[in-house]
């Protein structure tokens, strides 16, 4: 078992330092790059907090939809093939709900400020 602080606490501390102490002192293109870097750290923090639970429910839905077992990658590959072949479509019970939930869970990590995402949460 690794000791404290947690990875989340470490990354958050670095991101907060960059945001409050360094960002105000940097100008020009490097300021833009720094903002991208801070965004990346924030994304990692969100993924550490959210991905495990989201992946578990995604896998459960995929197993139900496909009636098969496998890794998340294998299950997503199988679903993709079935959509491509037309074997499943938006009329397949559970498919629209599954795609929506999976996508919302991705946005919660990737871009929680994206306007379409915020609209769909209302």
């Amino acid at each position: 078992m690794q000791d404290e602080p947690t990875t989340t606490e470490l990354i958050k501390a670095v991101a907060d330092f960059l945001r409050s102490e360094i960002a105000p002192a940097i100008k020009g293109h490097n300021a833009f790059k720094l903002r991208v870097g801070i965004n990346a750290l924030d994304l990692v923090t969100r993924q550490l907090a959210l991905a495990e639970a989201a992946d578990a429910t995604e896998a459960a839905r995929l197993k139900q939809l496909l009636g098969a077992d496998g890794t998340l990658m294998e299950l997503n590959r199988a679903l993709s093939e079935k959509i491509a072949s037309g074997e499943v479509d938006l009329n397949t019970p559970g498919l629209p709900e599954h795609l929506w939930q999976t996508t919302l869970d991705k946005l919660a990590v990737d871009q929680p400020n994206y306007a379409s995402y915020k609209r769909e949460l209302k």
Partner: protein, 327 residues
Amino acid sequence: MIEAELGRCVASFYPGANSVTGAAKLSGGASQETWTFDIVHPDGNVGAILRRAPPGYGAAPGRAAGLDAEATLMQLAHDAGLPSPKVMHVLTPDDGLGRGFIMARIEGETIARKILRDEEFATARPLLARQLGRVIAGIHGLPRDKLPQLRSMTATKEIEDLAREYHSFGWPRPVFELALRWLRDHDPGPSSEVTLVHGDFRHGNLIIGPDGVRAVLDWELAHFGDPMEDLGWICVNSWRFGEIDKPVGGFGTREDLFAGYAEAGRKADPDRVMFWEVMGTLRWGVMCCGMMQRFRAGPDHSMERAMIGRRASETEIDLLRLLAPRG
């Protein structure tokens, strides 16, 4: 230093000028660069832009129209009275600057967030969609016999290109599969009219002033195809920058865009435009994934490229909003 070569170059085409000042690179990948500089002249300096492939870079890769074609298209647009900078000089081997061209610099803003939020553009915003409709119609109406050699695209070919590129990443995305399936099922077939298509008509490639659109830039993706492609591309949600209820670039309505298009004597086909909006949304998503691949492969191992890979999910939610809207 590039200023020495540019100085010799401007002397060859600009009477009274023999040097330049303030050269600065605005953007550049490995094969294409954009520079800003001032031509020094006794009557006052003249702002100019160099767009070039540096020496050693030959033919344009993949989909690019090529810099010679870009120069021809910009000059044709300028001659037709469309907002397009005057092309001052097409580079020759003697210039020692590679391939490309020099054009007049047009002042204004290209950054979407400023155009959509700053007070300076408040009067322009409600006018832009209609104005851009007229400009796109003008581009689609450029005289065919004067146009350079360009690739031809159809909806069917575009779907297959996107499918091939997406599958090359080896990363399953059920929402992209759904979009590809929808596009194949709704492919409207060849357009009854094939015209010049700008191919990248959106924020970033439009110089906007308080008076409206001043220039259309970046003709790299120009081709022959369905004119409705340009109208669909500018409606893609990724170019609304948060103003999601204003489909045209976050500033206007489709109705205004189509009205402007009609004022210039052309007719929009809303169903085809919607088809191309779905295609464009998927295309931007595939481009995001492609940038992530290039981040991995190098040489551009930048955070920016890596993070763009995490924007593909934005296009997934937009595709679901288009194809499987909830309640």
